[in-house]
């Protein structure tokens, strides 16, 4: 037991170090911008005095390392800084409105997590079930059709899937709305219905990969002697797979599920833009377009953190589920 704990702590430490280095990479990349934030905020109408003023306000006159440490401390205390666009807007409106990045990101992050959760709830059971079926009926017409379908849906861009779904489920047969305007205080069922199309799009992309991996993991095991034995005992094919093959195939399957949830993070950006879903991906793209650097920086770090965390989870789960990895020789 203590060895597991040790391995997990080790991996967590590694993950934290990676995250720390990634934060440096992001910070340095942003500081490659010509000029600085102050000029970026003020744009065309920059006078030397106002540039100096904003520099002092944002602490841009400090040296790079001090600024990085400051930013890092802000990140750790969830003080993500001030959004340029919101600052400009607030100034124009006379100082009202929310200007911190944290206030902007928090509701959108929860929206995105909701979308990811809905997707996972649909995708994971369907993928594992279909993967088991494809392994059970391998090399039949069903398996070949599933192979064709999954390969096509893995390789299509997300927005193609999204627009095909919009065409059939929103325009021709108005089952779900094509715009997901989520707002606070919405009833759960309505919210679910409005986020169904983006969730289905993500499901299509993710399920295909998970299903292929489930099938491959199970088929890999079917040549093992103990499976042969189970078959010779006279067990039904379904029982052989579910009782004997599946538990041993669990490690690679869990791994691929976690990796696909990590993939959702990138997929979510495009899908949120297509459906105008008010999530963090949409915010990220909008901020990229108007070069709202603090928001871009914070979103980027959040995406990277989620990505690292999910990869870490995959790593740890596969170690826990496989005794051979737990006791490395």
């Amino acid at each position: 037991m203590s060895s597991i704990l040790k391995i997990i702590l080790q991996r967590l430490g590694l993950g934290l170090i990676t995250l720390f280095i990634v934060s440096i990479v992001i910070f340095v990349a942003v500081n490659l911008l010509p000029g600085d934030f102050a000029e970026a905020i003020l744009g065309q109408g920059a006078t030397p005095e106002s540039v100096a003023q904003i520099r002092r306000d944002l602490g841009l006159d400090q040296p790079l390392v001090a600024r990085y440490l400051d930013w890092l401390r802000g990140m750790l205390t969830l003080d993500l800084g001030t959004s340029f666009a919101q600052l400009n807007f607030a100034k124009a409106m006379g100082g009202a409105g929310s200007v911190t990045v944290a206030e902007q990101i928090a509701p959108r992050l929860s929206n995105t997590l909701f979308l990811a959760a809905v997707t996972a709830c649909i995708a994971v059971p369907v993928a594992v079930f279909l993967g088991v079926l494809a392994a059970l009926y391998r090399n039949t017409a069903f398996d070949k059709a599933a192979n064709l379908f999954t390969l096509s849906s893995i390789s299509s861009p997300e927005f193609f899937m999204a627009y095909v779904l919009i065409l059939f489920l929103a325009v021709l047969n108005p089952v779900f709305p094509s715009l997901s305007n989520i707002y606070e205080g919405m009833a759960f069922s309505e919210r679910l219905q409005k986020s169904m199309l983006p969730a289905l799009t993500l499901t299509l992309v993710v399920t295909a990969h998970m299903m292929r991996m489930t099938r491959a993991a199970i088929i890999n095991l079917l040549a093992s002697p103990y499976i042969e034995m189970a078959r010779l005992k006279g067990l039904s094919p379904m029982r052989v797979i579910v009782k004997h093959a599946l538990p041993n195939a669990l490690a690679p399957i869990i791994n691929v599920i976690a990796l696909n949830l990590a993939y959702l993070i990138t997929g979510v950006v495009v899908v949120e833009v297509v459906f105008v879903y008010p999530g963090i991906g949409q915010l990220f793209v909008d901020s990229v377009k108007i070069r709202d650097i603090p928001v871009v920086q914070a979103c980027c770090l959040i995406f990277a953190a989620a990505y690292i965390l999910l990869n870490l989870t995959a790593d740890i789960l596969s170690i826990i589920s496989n005794p051979r990895l737990r006791h490395p020789k």
Partner: protein, 406 residues
């Protein structure tokens, strides 16, 4: 309203499922009695029987739906049926074309290529055919396209289909976009721009990642350690997110330096994807450098360049080639996604991702004018078709080289 609909749909689904289960039971029992307990029916699990019945039901429904009239009684076009027919026709044409192409490959060419085509699945021959067509269109885009890619005509938003009664124009078979550019020409030029840029980017990623990977495998030591840790860090950031971050910065530099943003995009995506190539090249290289012939070459006193390019590279060609196909797909999808999000290939260059974004609102008119939805789906479908084709070919290559027969 919506709750009521969901209840109805769900209850209908439940009724259909129960009916299908009943039919499966009957099917299995009838099969047993008719064939006199043949093993196929005697040992058939209920799940398999259900599968047969479900497939038959779907087939019957598809044929019934295909034969529905395209115009309803009140004169409104039945868009769903039209799309379904187009999809079926497209699928059949693709299958027949792939079959004919494979037949052609089996009868002409050298003995080697004939053998290759004899064992080829239909999906792979379809993939090769599509790739050849795309390459042809991309190279000769200027000669094929009826108009220039940035040429603006007087009439904007002409419908696709070329039927004047439905708002089309025979001069523009796929219509014109919001500012009056010919969509067909832009689709053709899109092959040149999107595919060409993706191809250049992939090549660049392979030159960077491949040479560094082999170098790390050959020299090892601190260089290997340094490069590997650097790649680990870069791979910890999701690629599309990192690309978007770097593009934000590049857009400022591009404006300042007067260099097109597209050049920056090629460099950024090549850099990000070269990390994945590096991983593979290093892993493959590490397996090769322990071989005896490398030892012999080192003893002969060959230089580093000779080792990497004359000894390692030829032996690593097969996995790298498969990776090139997959990597091209990723790069192509990333570029399309960036363009779709509005930060990729910049106008006036015609590009499929940008076209999808610009033409997408037309989809909302599909219920009244089915042809309106064609153009955005054609642009997105052009992207999907190429990546699907490349994937089919790579899948076949991997299957062949691994010797898997399952």
């Amino acid at each position: 309203m919506s709750g009521l609909f969901e209840f109805n749909a769900l209850s209908w689904l439940a009724i259909i499922l129960v009916l299908l289960f009943g039919a499966a039971f009957v099917f299995r029992r009838v099969g047993q009695t008719v064939t006199g307990n043949a093993p196929k029916f005697r040992d058939m699990p209920y799940g398999a029987a259900f599968g047969y019945v479900l497939a038959a039901a779907l087939l019957i429904f598809a044929v019934w739906y295909y034969l529905q009239p395209t115009v309803t009684d009140v004169g409104v076009p039945n868009a769903g049926v039209m799309f379904f027919r187009w999809a079926i026709h497209g699928f059949l044409i693709a299958a027949i074309a792939a079959f004919l192409f494979r037949l052609l490959g089996r009868s002409i060419g050298t003995a080697g290529s004939k053998k290759l085509f004899r064992t080829m699945p239909l999906t792979a021959s379809f993939g090769i055919l599509v790739i050849l067509i795309y390459a042809f269109v991309a190279i000769f885009a200027g000669a094929i396209a009826p108009h220039g890619q940035a040429e603006v005509f007087g009439t904007a938003n002409i419908m696709a289909g070329g039927d004047p009664a439905l708002g089309g124009d025979p001069a523009f078979p796929l219509g014109t976009d919001q500012i009056g550019r010919d969509i067909l020409s832009r689709l053709i030029y899109g092959a040149q721009n999107t595919v060409g840029i993706a191809f250049i980017t992939t090549c660049l990623a392979f030159v960077i990642g491949g040479s560094l990977g082999f170098l790390a495998a050959t020299i090892q030591g601190w260089l290997d350690e340094l490069l590997s840790r650097g790649v680990d860090v870069l791979m910890a950031i999701p690629s599309l997110i990192f690309a978007l971050l770097l593009m934000t910065i590049a857009s400022v530099w591009a404006a300042r330096l007067g260099v097109p943003l597209t050049v920056f995009m090629v460099l950024i995506i090549a850099l990000i994807d070269s990390t994945r190539v590096f991983r593979l090249a290093r892993a493959v290289g590490l397996n090769i450098v322990v071989m005896d012939y490398i030892e012999a070459a080192k003893l002969r006193g060959e230089g580093l360049g000779y080792l990497v390019f004359k000894e390692i590279l030829p032996n690593a060609m097969a996995p790298l080639l498969a990776e090139f196909g997959l990597r091209f797909c990723f790069v192509f999808l990333t570029i399309s996604s960036l363009s779709f999000l509005g930060v990729g290939i910049q106008p006036p260059l015609a590009d499929w991702g940008t076209m999808v974004r610009d033409l997408a609102p037309f989809i909302n008119f599909a219920a009244f004018a089915p042809t309106a939805a064609i153009t955005p789906l054609l642009a997105a479908g052009a992207i999907a078709l190429l990546t699907v084709a490349v994937n089919f070919v790579v899948d076949w290559m991997l299957h062949k080289s691994s010797g898997l027969k399952e």
